[in-house]
């Protein structure tokens, strides 16, 4: 009977069932533990529906989720739109007030390149795969997805899930490294009060930064231009509706498509391989190395500066906005309850976003 022959259950494989369990685990982490629920929930569901036999949701040209994936991610539409929303949510004030702290955002990219090198030299990944894995250390989900979709689309699901999982675990991953690399006295350092940033600076900055960064690294244009446009919406003060839409409605819509599409790329036959375990391990290495390099760079800068930097804020150089800045505040207040580091940490935190985009642009320029 044709009906019986067409039943999906006849084509069910053990790999598909394993993927359902992985999808359910992500949904559990999102719902119960609230680990990056906005992403892990749709990703988890995407994994389940992509592993339903004969459903054809990821069938090229006709599958519903394939269309989301193709036009949203392969066409580079969704990550830049997420950046538009992020830009509209971002206040560059703390970074503009303490420009020297942007170097901490660069320092935290060390983890990206160290992991890239380790993945290529010791783990058998190709250059493009290694770059897609290394960028996890930047702790910036949309940038990771943007780069992986261009350089190693077959690893997209794994690097995205690894990236977002570790971002959710920033409060557990970073503190031990921060404590290990700093003394009590260093953690007590109180930083000099920031100057007030004028509205005019905040309006001019996204325009000049776009021009400068895109002139330097043209491949970063899709992300950086949308990021700065979103910020211009916010700071101009005259397009409140656009700023609001970018931050809320549009951001929410594209997040749905992003999550489901990413989850749906993870079909059992391709995902359940030894490589994926390596990706998760390397992602962790990238996160740890980025945290450590940010802290160490802050200590290094203290050798030459009169106004000392609390080295804890170096850890905020990994993007993970604003989670890593909050971790810095919490660690600082453990030794000095009146030491308010949050606003200082937001500077490297935002600079980390820009640093990761530049790093991704350089990978694209050299490897694509």
């Amino acid at each position: 009977m044709p009906f019986l022959e067409a039943m999906g259950i006849l084509y069910l494989t053990p790999n598909m069932i394993t993927m359902w369990l992985i999808g359910l685990l992500l949904i559990y982490l999102a719902v119960k533990k609230q680990y990056e629920p906005l992403l892990l929930l749709p990703i988890g569901f995407g994994i389940i529906i992509a592993n339903l036999p004969e459903a054809g949701l990821m069938k090229p040209d006709t599958g519903l989720i394939w269309l989301f994936y193709h036009f949203g991610i392969e066409w580079e539409v969704i990550p830049p739109l997420i950046f538009l929303g992020l830009g509209a949510m971002t206040d560059f004030g703390p970074m503009l007030a303490q420009p020297r702290l942007i170097f901490l955002g660069a320092g935290a990219q060390v983890g990206v390149y160290v992991t890239f090198f380790v993945a290529y030299a010791f783990m058998g990944f190709s250059l493009k795969e290694a770059a897609s894995i290394g960028i996890i250390g930047g702790a910036d989900g949309p940038t990771t997805i943007f780069l992986a979709s261009k350089l190693a689309p077959h690893l997209l699901g794994a690097v995205a899930v690894a990236g977002y999982s570790y971002m959710a675990m920033v409060p557990f991953i970073q503190p031990p490294i921060m404590r290990l690399l700093t003394t009590d006295a260093e953690r007590r350092i109180r930083m000099k009060k920031s100057r007030k940033v004028t509205q005019r600076e905040k309006i001019i900055f996204p325009i000049t930064a776009t021009i400068v960064i895109v002139l330097l690294v043209p491949a970063s244009a899709p992300l950086i231009s949308m990021f700065m446009l979103g910020n211009l919406f916010r700071e101009s003060g005259v397009v409140g509706r656009l700023s609001d839409t970018a931050q809320n409605a549009l951001m929410n819509i594209v997040t749905i498509f992003l999550g489901v599409s990413i989850g749906a790329t993870m079909d059992g036959d391709h995902f359940l391989q030894k490589q994926v375990i390596y990706i998760f391990l390397l992602g962790l290495v990238a996160f740890m190395a980025s945290t450590a390099s940010g802290v160490l760079l802050a200590k290094f800068m203290n050798l030459f500066t009169k106004n000392k930097i609390n080295p804890l804020i170096g850890a905020a150089g990994v993007s993970a906005v604003p989670m890593s800045a909050r971790v810095v505040q919490k660690e600082g207040s453990r030794v000095d309850k009146k030491n308010y580091l949050l606003m200082f940490a937001m500077g490297p935190n935002i600079a980390g976003v820009i640093g990761t985009v530049i790093a991704a642009g350089i990978f694209l320029t050299m490897l694509q």
């Binding site: 290694a130 600076e201 001019i204 930064a209 690294v217």
Partner: protein, 41 residues
Amino acid sequence: MEEAFKVFVNGFAGVFCGMAILYLVIKLLSFAAGKAEKSGE
């Protein structure tokens, strides 16, 4: 391996160079726009 090393070195240099230029832009901006608004207050 040579290719990976090239990407590694260029990546480091590129990110720090980008941030250094951004630093100069911000400094210039604070000098020009930061003071301009203050004088207008």
